[in-house]
Amino acid sequence: MDILLLILIIPFVFGVVMFLMPLHFKLLQSLHILLSVIVSSVLLSAVSKIVNGAELSLFHNFIFLDSLGAIFLSLIAITGLLVNIYATTYMKWELEDGHITIKEVKNYFALSFIFTWTMSLSVLCNNIAFMWAAIEATTLASVFLVAVKNDKKSTESGYKYIVLCSIGLAFALYATILLYSAANGKIEGEAMLYTNLLANAASLDPMALKLVFIFALIGFGTKAGLAPTHTWLPDVHAEGPAPTSALLSGVLLKCAMLGLIRYYAIVANGVGFDFVQSVMIISGTLTLFISSFFLIRQHNVKRMFAYHSIAHMGVIAFGLGVGGAIGLFAALFHCAAHSFTKALAFCSTGNIAKIYGTKDMTKMGGMIRIAPLTAVLFGISICSLVGVPGFAIFVSEFLIFKAAAIDGAYLLMGIFAVALAIIFIADFSHFFLATFGKVEGTVVHNDEMKFTENFPLIALAILIVAFGVWQFDSFTFLLDESVKTIMKK
């Protein structure tokens, strides 16, 4: 069977299978891990075919996988798998503490497969209207991963999530329709296909393309967490369970960013790179400064990481704004680096909440003595988030500086440096508050987690360091090919 067809079928079927399972936690846990491994293996097998130079498409090119999609599909596979494994541990704790029922756990596991299915679909769609529908479906599939419980806060976060993302994505749908209308009859072949639109971008109406890009930026930017329409993100990420926040921040935001990058490519090749770069610089700078300002004030560890997600979406936007081959390479690399880092960060908040019974960092302290491994893992995520050399995010941030320096854009380098410095100071002050010194509040679980429980976090930490110090040829190949596609070189 075609590998793309398998991707379209398997996660959905597994979701349905999970829904039909009996309410037995051990069974649900084992099955969730097993099925997640199968899904990720299928996704990675498709990615490996792209790395080996294959061209994958289905239903007359309606569904396809290019090098750009392969990058994001590998994030769904790797980050998704590790977070899904951690989710079984997290849900066990929640169940033991009586915060959640076994039925809610089963629904959570089932919905996470449906969520993976919608995200994979959004990456694989060559038809831009279907890509939009798939991205909207990711919101719908993940609402009840966020609003797991029936209480006020959970309902409020679910409400904010669906309402704000739906408004935002309405603009993206308008962008889709405008782009199709502008291309229909003017280009050869189906005007709904991204590949056709990119190939014929130069023959499209420049005025229409500019409006399309602004609409796409509002639409996909809302979903990706770009300012000023980022306001849903802190509430949703702070309120949802830790694995949900890890999936949303580590994978979902990147899928929305992929939608925006595809529009970036079409519009850049239609009206020139200057326009899209200017827009992205404005959006990136605004996002970076708004998020870093709010970051300083946060004491809730999950809200802090939520603002980090916004800041790093700003970094990706800034990379797209600086542009050029290196800037684009950096932006795409940052998607992967941030995915692993943020998954680790949010999963470690699950451990931290288990230890202290709170998310308030002013009531923590002394974590290094209580749970040294969790403290180290938390530290690795913080080091990567602020761009310490040797960790994955340093590579992309350094490359953005390099791209700006090559262009002689010293003002941009200065703006970027100031924003990163604010984030650096805010992060380390929070990190020290939680990790060292005396315990300020109460300790609910005065012990380190088991190795098997920490395994997904350790794997993520290894990935963060590995991507910080090593160059993976297959991944670099995907990045290079994607940059060439966007720049049409």
């Binding site: 038809n127 209207a129 279907f130 939009w132 529908a133 909207e136 479906a137 719908l140 609402v143 009840f144 609003a147 029936n150 209480d151 006020k152 806060k153 309902t155 409020e156 976060s157 679910g158 409400y159 904010k160 669906i162 309402v163 739906s166 408004i167 309405a170 749908l173 308008y174 329709i177 405008l178 199709y180 209308s181 502008a182 229909n184 009859g185 003017k186 189906e190 005007a191 709904m192 109406d205 005025m207 229409a208 409006l211 509430d235 702070a238 309120e239 809730n300 809200r303």
Partner: protein, 215 residues
């Protein structure tokens, strides 16, 4: 034929204002059903004019989903919750429709000039109406605090987009419309489930009461 389409689109603009402004939920939902019926009529009028098979499929699916299913589902929700009149919106019942109307007209005036460049259908009024309805939906989200009104606002801007699609790109594949409509159904169902939960938690549909997560 163009005149009939013009008349329908003006009526659609009127119904979008009614969906936004009417205080009673039932009236608002009926106004929405009426608006979608007009949208279906426009699809049919365009089908008879251009003979595009896609438009016929669109009109059938839109009728089943948006004229019948969505309004009935929302009416059932209203009955279940036992709500009749919406809570006082931002700026009161009088100010918000005036603000929404004036800003939607202003934005629509900007947009249609761009749309007409590349639209298949070159008539000004329907293109103007499409962006007006879309903006009324967006303002519905911003200015009305009732959860149910926000669901209706979602449906409103979805109608605006649907009208744009019919006018500017009616030759697009039927599957595209089916995909978008399927999403819309799920969005309405999920929002309704959340609205029920919201009502159970807060004792009203007034979303301005949802302030637990600020800070």
């Amino acid at each position: 034929m163009a005149n009939i389409i013009d008349i329908f689109t003006v009526l659609m603009m009127g119904t979008s204002f009614a969906v936004f402004s009417l205080r009673q939920y039932r009236h608002s939902i009926i106004a929405y059903a009426l608006q979608t019926l007009l949208l279906v009529a426009i699809f049919l009028a365009l089908y008879f004019k251009y003979g595009s098979h896609e438009l016929l499929v669109w009109s059938i699916t839109a009728f089943i989903i948006k004229v019948v299913f969505v309004p009935l589902y929302l009416l059932r929700l209203v009955n279940k919750l036992g709500v009749v009149v919406e809570d006082e919106p931002v700026g009161g019942f009088f100010i918000s429709p005036v603000v929404a109307l004036s800003f939607s007209l202003a934005v629509a005036m900007m947009f249609y000039k761009v749309f007409i460049h590349f639209s298949i259908f070159k008539d000004v009024l329907p293109l103007f109406a499409a962006s007006f309805i879309f903006m009324m939906g967006i303002f519905g989200f911003i200015l009305r605090t009732s959860f149910l009104k926000q669901i209706l606002s979602y449906c409103l801007f979805e109608n605006g987009i649907h009208l744009s699609l019919a006018l500017m790109a009616y030759t697009s594949h039927e599957l595209v419309e089916v995909g978008i409509l399927t999403d819309a159904i799920f969005a309405v169902i999920i929002m309704s489930i959340l609205a029920k939960r919201f009502y159970a938690s807060y004792g009203s549909l007034d979303t301005s009461k949802a302030v637990n997560l600020r800070g």
